[in-house]
Subunit: 300 residues, 2 copies
């Protein structure tokens, strides 16, 4: 089944303790789309400026990602982010943000995209996320991401959104902020009470936690010695997870757990190089190979 993602498309400049890259392909919708494309047909909705090179679009199209929803605004500039990772490669500092065209992002979906059964609302204003949801034509599963900015500055709008989504994906510090609870197990269940049927809390190098009614579990990250750039790990996690759900066209507890594991594995590839570079080198069999190692790791 097809999977719609609405989110940012960006040029990133990334500094890590050992290397740096300028103006590389990034953005939540880009990482998500590419990761999901290993599993299911993806429809990308985003906005870029005139500075956007065709080669980036071609790269996405080569994975059968439908880019007809990628709006190009003439005379405008694409969203740019510059960040720096601390030595632990988990915490980062944002050095510059230029929203550019993304600041006025107000997507109108095509008739075809409105019928997509699987929807991921990547990190963005809950107002924009709601407007996307309003256009959807009875989707089967809607999952959203969010961030500290919206928790702090658009709290009511976020609360309204949470009542309308099936799942929420967020990172650990955001879950603590949203619930004012330092215990992630309690935090996860409290977020479920705000509306979503399930909540996934991403813990970076420590894996991910899943919460639903009477259900709590944690899966560890796949241990990799080769962390080059963690940018997009959360979005490629979500892409792997949602891509697998869309492929299976099922979101039973068992399938959700498998999806979480696929998300973890796709993210573990993504962090092994800058931008999409590592994901460009792999295909589904590489993911399956790592899945076998992951299952072995967790059985005793």
């Amino acid at each position: 089944m097809s999977l719609l993602v609405v989110g940012s498309v960006a040029f990133d400049s990334v500094e890590t303790p050992t290397a740096s890259r300028d103006n590389i392909l990034g953005g939540s919708a880009v990482y998500f789309s590419y990761a999901a494309s290993f599993f299911a047909p993806v429809q990308l909705v985003g906005v870029v400026g005139q500075d956007w090179p065709d080669e980036h679009t071609r790269l996405l199209r080569a994975r059968q990602i439908d880019t007809s929803g990628l709006q190009v605004v003439p005379g405008a500039k694409t969203f740019r982010w510059r960040g720096k990772y601390l030595p632990n490669m988990n915490d980062r500092e944002t050095l510059e943000v230029h929203l550019n065209v993304f600041g006025d992002f107000n997507p109108t979906l095509s008739e075809e995209f409105r019928r997509s059964p699987y929807v991921f609302l990547a990190n963005g204003s809950p107002v924009v996320q709601r407007r996307v949801l309003d256009q959807m034509n009875g989707p089967k599963l809607v999952v959203a991401d969010t961030m500290d900015l919206w928790i702090r500055e658009q709290h009511d709008e976020l609360m309204d959104l949470l009542k309308r989504v099936d799942g929420l994906v967020m990172n650990d510090s955001e879950a603590k902020l949203l619930t004012d609870d330092e215990n992630l197990v309690r935090a996860g269940h409290r977020i479920c009470e705000l509306g979503p049927k399930f909540v996934v809390i991403k813990k970076g190098e420590h894996g991910a936690m899943f919460f639903a009614d009477h259900e709590t579990y944690v899966l560890p990250a796949f241990p990799t010695a080769n962390v080059i750039d963690p940018t997009g790990a959360g979005d490629s996690f979500a892409g792997g997870m949602m891509g697998y759900l869309a492929q299976r066209d099922d979101f039973s507890p068992q399938t959700l757990k498998e999806a979480l594991a696929y998300g973890i594995l796709v993210a573990s590839f993504n962090v092994e190089d800058f931008s999409l570079d590592r994901m460009l080198q792999i295909d589904r069999p590489d993911i399956e190979l790592r899945m076998r190692a992951y299952r072995r790791m967790l059985s005793f």
Copy 2:
């Protein structure tokens, strides 16, 4: 098979964001012994002062822990530690340390204890740990713990010790300090190169990692909403792990992984109350029940 532990026996005063306790039973050898006693007969070696109440010894003896190696020094005081946990319940501040009798700890083992096949050198000076090792009569498996203080201040002595132990257990920040590497996967393998056949890195609420030649895995912590006091989590983890190995009298890769899981589960009980209070309420069937839930959590 019997399991020898040499380490601290203490009175702890613990403050958490929601509660505090003064002068409660603690110390690495105490937490370790109690946790291990669910699995195997334990021989405890430690030192206390005249202020040590008999009831604490009786509590340990009630679990068949051999306390004949617990030296009582007349006219002296027991080791005391006071600490405060930050709201995240993972990081803590030491407010007071009074080594008292533990400052001169220089144990002489009985003939019986020297023949113990399984040995755990709880956190302590590597000089004392080596002296204990010198007295042992061909043990099958020796595992040590250490801490930042010894990594910084007795580095050479610690390096010598590492060449003589089979396993090392330490926490994540200590592993990073010892190797000057922020990536725990690389850090774990580097520590293996210093001598130990295997290394376990404890990550607190994020579980534990295991490293041996060509082997790396991570098991997550058992998710609990009810973290009351994390003191002793690392030692009860080590106790559960070593107790299981001693019971099985085997340390093949498969048994080691099971042992790691038992360590994680015993620690997950321990943090649910102050001192030994939660462990006092359980027995082996409770651990097995949680093990079934843990195995379910990790299968998909």
